[in-house]
Amino acid sequence: MMDFLSDPNLGTYVMFYVAMGAIVLGFLLLILWVGLHPFLCRRFDKELFKAPWFRPNELFLYASWPFSPFRSAAYMLLLTFPAAIKKRRFKGVEIDTRGDRVLTFFSWIFLLVSSIGIFLMIVVLVEGAFAYVLSPNILDG
């Protein structure tokens, strides 16, 4: 264990697996989104996909691909952070989501995967930016 930690290349190994982790989580995110979207829309479209919660141009744009995922993203936030989203998009909405346990569970998984994935991506980008800026070769052209 100590040998591993004192390995001078530890940073490279860790960063490589961080980048690969972000790529794998990106795939997982796509699978989750494709799987959840139809179920979320079937559950909430009738009650929520209308004025005043969506503007006329949003109703037009979000009705079909490639913008339809915006709808399922809003519904996922409604299931996971109801108080927060009711202050912004779904102001004054009266909807009972206590029975939607499976959708809520997978929405949490989705948010967890996306948060970790985005965090890992930011780590790689920041590390890459630092490595580029601090690289001694940068002055040699």
Partner: protein, 333 residues
């Protein structure tokens, strides 16, 4: 309980059965959402006008039936695994027109190209075509409405002819060289978009079919765009992998391609969640910034992932051969 009854342009009129605990402001909030006090008062006045039996707006009773004007509700029917699509009917034309009227030209063009970058797919060209077809479908539908106005004697024959020529000219100018694809015919536009004189046929049938064609083209372009570009990106990577002998380079190409696409997906997810939560309209400047940052993040993550793989390879020449493990060699030959 609500029962749809009458229709106006952008509102549905319903009959509302007052429930226990209902108040006028609560009912208004249910259908219109939270409103400024002035606007709410205006709606209450309209309700009082339409329901003269209400003497005091603070006193309504369970079981009382109210006539209410509520914003027209547009709810496409979602299908399993297929995102709902806009179909050509009166409601869709209305929604399309409304949506397009409320969106500036630049915004629409930028929005059409935003999807590819945020969702790591599609292209500017396809986005522009999508916009062209989508924005002209309502124009074709106007021809049918023009004819309806003539039939209902809202306009004279002269007005009808004038409007028709004007719409056709506008359509010809806007579609330009795409006219043949959009209309699906080599013939002049005034011959293609005509009123049917056949007995028992709906006179505006041909025009409606052409409007539907434009919408379908638009839908296929915007739907297919992302798949085409994601496919093209992987296709280029696959071609490069097949034409490279070095194991290290094959892996680097694969890691960069996957990193670029997944970086775009992760960035797109973050942007989507933020827009979904905030419900703030995205102007064309913001759309341009989001798209630009998205392109940068996607590219940067791809290059970063490739560099990390290269570093790993330089440490240990016998490092992970992802191309072999995922049998990419077998596919990309």
């Amino acid at each position: 309980m609500t029962m749809p009854s009458l229709h106006s342009d952008d509102h549905d009129t319903i009959l509302y059965d007052v429930q226990h605990g209902d108040s006028l402001s609560r009912i208004i909030r249910r259908y219109h959402g939270p409103l400024a006090p002035g606007k709410q008062q205006a709606i209450i006045k309209r309700i009082l006008l339409e329901n003269p039996e209400i003497r005091d707006p603070n006193r309504i009773y369970p079981g009382q039936i109210l006539v209410l004007d509520i914003p027209r509700q547009y709810c496409p029917i979602p299908k399993i695994m297929v995102p709902p699509v806009v179909t050509i009917d009166e409601r869709a034309i209305g929604t399309l027109k409304q949506g397009l009227e409320n969106t500036g030209k630049e915004q629409k063009t930028i929005i059409s190209t935003l999807a590819p970058l945020t969702l790591a797919a599609a292209s500017t060209g396809l986005g522009t075509l999508d916009y062209t077809f989508k924005s002209n479908a309502p124009l074709v539908a106007e021809l049918a409405e023009n004819y309806q106005d003539l039939m209902e004697k809202k306009i004279t024959r002269g007005q009808y002819d004038y409007r028709r020529v004007k719409i056709l000219k506008k359509l010809e100018t806007k579609l330009g060289p795409l006219m043949r694809i959009g209309m699906g015919s080599k013939r002049p536009v005034n011959e293609v978009l005509r009123i049917t004189r056949k007995k028992d046929a709906i006179p505006t049938k041909i025009i409606e079919r052409k409007a539907e064609r434009l919408l379908n083209l638009s839908r296929n372009l915007s739907r297919g765009g992302s798949v085409v570009l994601a496919g093209a990106s992987l296709g280029v990577a696959c071609h490069d992998i097949a034409h490279t002998d070095s194991r290290q380079e094959k892996n680097e190409i694969l890691v960069e391609a996957l990193g670029g696409i997944m970086g775009g997906v992760l960035y797109g997810t973050a942007v989507t969640l933020a827009i979904a939560m905030m419900a703030t309209p995205v102007g064309w400047v913001a759309a341009l910034v989001i798209a630009g940052v998205g392109a940068g993040v996607s590219y940067g993550f791809g290059v970063g992932a490739r560099d990390l793989y290269t570093n790993m390879y330089s440490l240990d020449g016998n490092t992970i051969d992802i191309v072999h493990r995922l049998s990419i060699d077998a596919v990309c030959r």
